[in-house]
C-alpha cells in the first residue's frame, strides 16, 4: 500500500536525512550485487559468491549437537518450559545473573584464562553495533572525536557517529610495516585534531583487526596504553574476533595489559565484545560492554534499556557457555577449522600468484591486488572491484571502504561458506587469472585502462599443470609461480 502524499508532509530530523547511516559505502554495493544474483550450488551455480560477509559458519554442527542434547536450555521445550514465565518477565537491565557469569567466564577462557572478568562489569547491548554506539554516547559529546587506525570496519562510521554526532579521525597505517599502529601515526593524528580544534575523547582499536586479521603484539598494546594515559583519553577495544585466533602468536587482550601494569589508569579502558563472530550467532544480538570505569558501567547499564538482550537468548547462552566441556571442545575445533580454511585459501591464492597479508585471526583475508592496478588510485581499485564482482562473480570488499590509505587491498571473507563453495571461489579466481594471462594482444573485454589484468607469470602452462590444490590428501606443492608481484 502506498499513501497519498499530501502537499505538506512534516520534515524529518537532520539525522534521518543525512548519510550517517553510511549505506552509500561501496561496502554495501557488493551486498546488493549478491542479493540480486546469489550463488547457490545447484539452483544458481553462476551466481555471485558472498565473500563480503564476515560470518563464522564453520562450527554449527557442534552447536546443533549440543542443542539436541540440552533441551532444557530452551524455554520452549517440554524440559525447559517450566522456566518460561520467569524468563519471559525478566527485563532487569542487569541481565540474568547466570548470563553475566557465563559470559564473564567465557571471555576469560577465550583469553586462555590469563585474566578474569567480573560479571558485575558486564553490560548488555544490541550486538556490538549497539555496544559501540552506547559507549560513544557515554564518552563523547557531539563534535568530539575518536581516533581509529586504518583500515577499519566500515560499520564504525555509522555505529560511532550517526546518532551520536561524534566523529572518527583516522590514524593512518601502511603496508610498509604490515599496517602496524605506530606511535608516530597516533601523534600525527592527535596533532591534526588539536590543530583543527577537535576534541579527541578516545582511541578505538579492533583487536584482532578487521579487516587485517592480525593481532596487536604486547609492545604495541603497551604503546597504546601509554599514549592514551599521556593524552588522558579513553581506549575502546573491540575484541569481537578474540576467539578467531587460529595460530600463534597467541592473542593478548588489553585486559592482560591492564592486569600486568598497575600504573595505567583503568578508568580509561573499555572492551566491546559479542558472540556474533566467535560463536557465529549474529542473529541473537548478544553485545557486551565491559568497562573498568565504574561510572561507565553505571551509565551504560541504564542506557542498555535501549538494546537489552532477549531474556530467552540470555537463558540459552548462559546454559551453553557454562558447559565447560562443550566450550573447550568448541574453541579448539573452531580455531582448528579456521586454521585449515585459512591455509586452504591462502595456498590456493598463492598458487595463482596472489598474496595476502600474513594473518593469524579473523574470518577473512586481506588480499593484495595492488599489482593489478596500473595507477595507485581509488578509481582503479573500484574498477578492479567491479571486474571482480561482474566477471569473477565474487563479492569481496574493496579496501577503500575500510578507509585504507593504499588502493588495491581487498578483504575476502572465507568462513561463511562450506568447502564446496570455497573450491568454486578458488576455481573462479584461478580461471580469471588464466583468462588474463600474459598473452600478446589479449584484451579483456571490460579492461579498464587503469588496470593491468595481465598476470606476470613466466609459464602459464605450469598453472594448468598444478595438481588440484583442494584435496586434503595431496601435499600442497611448492608452485614455481609463487613469486607474485607487489
Amino acid at each position: 500500500m502506498s499513501y497519498i502524499s499530501s502537499n505538506r508532509t512534516p520534515l524529518l530530523s537532520k539525522i534521518a536525512t543525512n548519510d550517517g547511516h553510511a549505506e552509500k559505502s561501496p561496502y554495501f554495493d557488493g551486498w546488493k550485487a549478491y542479493d540480486k544474483n546469489p550463488f547457490h550450488p545447484t539452483q544458481n551455480p553462476n551466481g555471485v559468491i558472498q565473500m563480503g560477509l564476515a560470518e563464522n559458519q564453520l562450527c554449527f554442527d557442534l552447536v546443533q549437537e549440543w542443542l539436541v542434547n540440552n533441551p532444557k536450555a530452551s524455554i520452549c521445550t517440554e524440559e525447559g518450559v517450566d522456566k518460561f514465565r520467569d524468563i519471559a518477565i525478566f527485563q532487569d537491565y542487569h541481565g540474568l545473573p547466570e548470563f553475566r557469569n557465563a559470559v564473564a567466564k567465557f571471555m576469560g577462557r577465550v583469553r586462555g584464562d590469563k585474566v578474569r572478568f567480573e560479571p558485575d562489569r558486564i553490560v548488555m547491548s544490541g550486538g556490538a553495533t549497539g555496544a559501540l554506539e552506547l559507549i560513544t554516547f557515554c564518552l563523547a559529546d557531539p563534535g568530539d572525536a575518536f581516533l581509529v587506525p586504518t583500515p577499519y570496519y566500515p560499520g564504525f562510521d555509522r555505529d560511532l557517529c550517526w546518532r551520536t554526532g561524534a566523529r572518527l579521525l583516522p590514524v593512518v597505517c601502511h603496508s610498509s610495516n604490515n599496517f602496524k599502529v605506530t606511535r608516530k601515526a597516533l601523534e600525527d593524528a592527535y596533532a591534526k585534531a588539536v590543530e583543527a580544534n577537535i576534541r579527541v575523547k578516545g582511541l578505538l582499536i579492533t583487536n584482532p583487526s578487521n579487516p587485517l586479521g592480525t593481532i596487536l603484539d604486547r609492545d604495541t598494546l603497551k604503546e597504546l596504553m601509554s599514549f592514551i594515559n599521556e593524552k588522558n583519553i579513553h581506549l575502546v577495544c573491540d575484541e569481537i574476533y578474540a576467539a578467531t585466533v587460529f595460530r600463534q602468536p597467541n592473542f593478548v587482550s588489553i585486559a592482560e595489559i591492564i592486569e600486568e601494569d598497575q600504573e595505567y589508569n583503568r578508568n580509561l579502558v573499555h572492551i566491546v565484545y559479542s558472540l556474533s563472530k566467535d560463536m557465529g550467532f549474529p542473529g541473537f544480538r548478544v553485545g557486551i560492554v565491559y568497562s573498568y570505569n565504574n561510572a561507565m558501567v553505571e551509565c551504560g547499564r541504564k542506557m542498555s534499556s535501549f538494546g537489552l538482550v532477549s531474556s530467552q537468548t540470555q537463558y540459552l547462552i548462559a546454559s551453553m557457555l557454562s558447559d565447560d566441556q562443550f566450550i573447550g571442545k568448541f574453541l579448539l575445533e573452531s580455531s582448528g577449522r579456521l586454521a585449515t580454511r585459512h591455509k586452504d585459501f591462502t595456498d590456493g591464492l598463492r598458487q595463482v600468484g596472489i598474496k595476502c597479508l600474513n594473518s593469524n585471526a579473523g574470518l577473512f583475508l586481506w588480499m593484495d591486488l595492488r599489482g593489478l592496478l596500473r595507477e595507485s588510485t581509488v578509481e582503479a581499485e573500484a574498477a578492479l572491484w567491479r571486474v571482480i564482482i561482474n566477471d569473477v562473480k565474487l563479492n569481496v570488499s574493496p579496501g577503500s571502504s575500510f578507509h585504507c590509505s593504499e588502493p588495491g587491498w581487498f578483504r575476502v571473507c572465507i568462513a561463511n561458506m562450506n568447502e564446496e563453495t570455497m573450491k568454486v571461489a578458488l576455481t573462479r579466481i584461478r580461471e580469471f587469472v588464466l583468462r588474463n594471462g600474459d598473452k600478446p594482444g589479449r584484451k579483456e573485454k571490460s579492461c579498464q585502462s587503469n588496470l593491468r589484468l595481465n598476470f606476470p607469470f613466466r609459464r602459464m602452462e605450469d598453472v594448468m599443470r598444478t595438481p588440484c590444490i583442494m584435496s586434503p590428501h595431496s601435499p600442497i606443492p611448492q608452485s614455481p609461480l609463487v613469486q607474485a608481484r607487489t
Binding site: S2, P10, S13, V68, I87, E118, F137, P142, R285, S310
Partner: protein, 438 residues
C-alpha cells in the same frame, strides 16, 4: 572490584552520561528499590512490600505455555535443530518475514479487522523503549519538542529525551473532563513551546493511556489528527496496551481513523507497538514501529541495527502468533481476565471509600486519593506515597512522577500478581482507610 588507581585524573564522561535525564532518581524508581529490599512473598514474606508499580501482565501465561506445547518443535528449530544455523545467522534488519506477518495479523486481530497492516511497514526494535527513542531521533532534532499529554508514562522522560536531546512539552489534561485531551490543551501546549522558541515536531499519545487506563475516543483522535495536520507535525500513537482493552469494541486505533479517511495525511502518523504488555513478555524485548511514511520506514529500519530483536525470539513468536486460532483465543480470554481483575480492584477500593477514574483498559487503575491529602500539593502527595510505601507496604506510583497536573492521583497495577495477592493488597488498603477514619 577493581583497585582504584589514586591520583589518576578522571576523564569526564559525556554530557549525556552526566545528565540526570535517565530519570532514575525519581520516586517512580525509588519505589522499585523499596520493593527490591523487602519484596512480598505469600509464603516467605507475607508482610513485605507488594509491588503495584509495575505494569506487567501475568494473568495469561497458562495460555502461552499451552501454545508452546503445541508448537514446541517448531519453536526449537525443528527436531534435531536443523533450523538453528539459519536462524542464528539471520541479522537482516528487515526482520523475519514470518514474524512480521504474524505481528501484523495479531495487530489486526486486536483491532477486530478495523484496520489492515502491511508487513513491509513493520520495523522491529528491542522493545517499545527503543522504538520510542528511535522515532524521536528520526522526527526531531536536538532542542526540538514533542507534545505529550499529561499524565504520561515516566519512562518517556528518558526514552524521548535522554540521548536525543529532544524536549517534552506537556499537553496539560485534568480531571474536570476525565483527563481527556482537548484541542484547547493541544493549542496551549503548542503556543507554550513557540513562546519559548522551541520547535514542535510532533505529538505523542498513548492509546490506551498509561497511566489513566482509558482509551481515547474516536472523536478526540480525529481532533488530534486534525491538529497535527494543521500544524504539519507528526503524530506518534503508542498502542502498547491495545490488546489490554477490556471490551474489544471500545478501542479505536489511529489506524482505523486513517483508514476511514482513506489515508489522507497519513504520512505523518506512526504507531508503536510491543508484546511486553499484551502478551506479558517484557523480557523478550519485542517492539515495533509501524509507519505510513516510507522515508521513516527506511530510516527506522536502518537505525534498528542498534536494537534488533533476537532472531531466536522472532522465530519463537512467529511460530506462536501465526497460529491464528491461538491468537484470537488469547486476546479474548486475556481481555476477560483483565476486566475481571479491574472490576475486583475497583470494587475493593470503592468499599474502602476510594474512587478511581472510570477505566476500560490497561494493567492498572488511576486512583484518586486527593481527598486524603493534607494540602493539594506535590509534597503532600509524596508524603502520602511514602506512607503507602512504608506503612501500608504497597508500592504504587504517585501521579507527580507521571507529571500529573493535579496532586493526589496514583497509578495502581493489578495484573502483575496472583488473585490472592490482590486481595491482600485490598485488605491492607481497607485497614489503612479504617485507621484514618478513627
Amino acid at each position: 572490584m577493581a583497585i582504584e588507581i589514586e591520583a589518576a585524573p578522571s576523564v569526564q564522561l559525556s554530557r549525556v552520561a552526566d545528565s540526570e535525564t535517565h530519570g532514575e532518581n525519581l520516586a517512580y524508581f525509588a519505589g522499585w528499590k523499596a520493593y527490591d529490599e523487602d519484596p512480598y512473598n505469600e509464603a516467605s514474606n507475607p508482610s513485605g512490600v507488594i509491588q503495584m508499580g509495575l505494569a506487567e501482565n501475568q494473568v495469561s501465561f497458562d495460555l502461552l505455555e499451552e501454545c508452546l506445547e503445541k508448537h514446541s518443535e517448531a519453536s526449537t528449530w525443528g527436531k534435531g535443530a536443523p533450523g538453528f544455523r539459519e536462524n542464528a545467522l539471520f541479522q537482516d534488519y528487515h526482520g523475519l518475514l514470518t514474524f512480521r506477518k504474524a505481528i501484523v495479523s495479531f495487530m489486526e486481530e486486536i483491532r477486530c479487522g478495523g484496520a489492515k497492516f502491511d508487513p513491509e511497514r513493520v520495523v522491529l526494535t528491542a522493545g517499545a523503549t527503543a522504538a520510542n527513542e528511535l522515532l524521536t531521533f528520526i522526527l526531531a532534532d536536538p532542542g526540538d519538542a514533542l507534545l505529550v499529554p499529561t499524565p504520561y508514562y515516566p519512562g518517556f522522560d528518558r526514552d524521548l529525551r535522554w540521548r536525543t536531546g529532544v524536549k517534552i512539552v506537556p499537553i496539560v489534561c485534568d480531571s474536570s473532563n476525565n483527563f481527556q485531551i482537548t484541542t484547547e490543551a493541544l493549542e496551549a501546549a503548542y503556543e507554550l513551546a513557540e513562546s519559548m522558541n522551541i520547535r514542535v515536531r510532533g505529538v505523542l499519545i498513548t492509546n490506551p493511556s498509561n497511566p489513566l487506563g482509558v482509551t481515547i475516543s474516536r472523536s478526540v483522535l480525529e481532533d488530534i489528527l486534525d491538529f497535527a495536520t494543521r500544524k504539519n507535525i507528526h503524530l506518534v500513537s503508542d498502542e502498547i496496551y491495545s490488546g489490554s482493552v477490556f471490551s474489544s469494541s471500545e478501542f479505536v486505533s489511529v489506524a482505523e481513523v486513517l483508514e476511514a479517511r482513506e489515508y489522507r495525511a497519513s504520512e505523518r502518523v506512526h504507531i508503536v507497538y510491543s508484546l511486553s504488555k499484551d502478551l506479558g513478555l517484557p523480557g523478550f524485548r519485542v517492539g515495533t514501529i509501524y509507519s505510513y511514511n516510507d522515508k521513516v520506514v527506511t530510516t527506522a529500519r536502518r537505525m534498528s541495527s542498534f536494537t534488533l530483536i533476537s532472531s531466536q525470539t522472532q522465530h519463537l513468536l512467529a511460530c506462536m502468533l501465526s497460529d491464528k486460532k491461538f491468537a484470537k483465543n488469547y486476546i479474548e480470554i486475556n481481555r476477560t481476565r483483565l476486566r475481571k481483575r479491574y472490576e475486583r480492584i475497583i470494587d475493593g477500593l470503592r468499599s474502602a471509600g476510594i474512587e478511581c477514574l472510570k477505566g476500560n483498559a490497561g494493567l492498572f487503575c488511576w486512583m484518586n486519593l486527593s481527598p486524603l491529602l493534607e494540602k493539594p500539593t506535590r509534597e503532600s502527595e509524596l508524603d502520602l506515597w511514602r506512607t503507602m510505601l512504608q506503612e501500608v507496604k504497597l508500592n504504587i506510583s504517585p501521579g507527580s512522577s507521571c507529571h500529573c497536573s493535579e496532586p493526589g492521583w496514583f497509578r495502581v497495577c493489578f495484573a502483575n500478581m496472583s488473585e490472592h495477592t490482590l486481595e491482600v493488597a485490598l485488605e491492607r488498603i481497607h485497614k489503612y482507610m479504617e485507621q484514618r477514619r478513627t
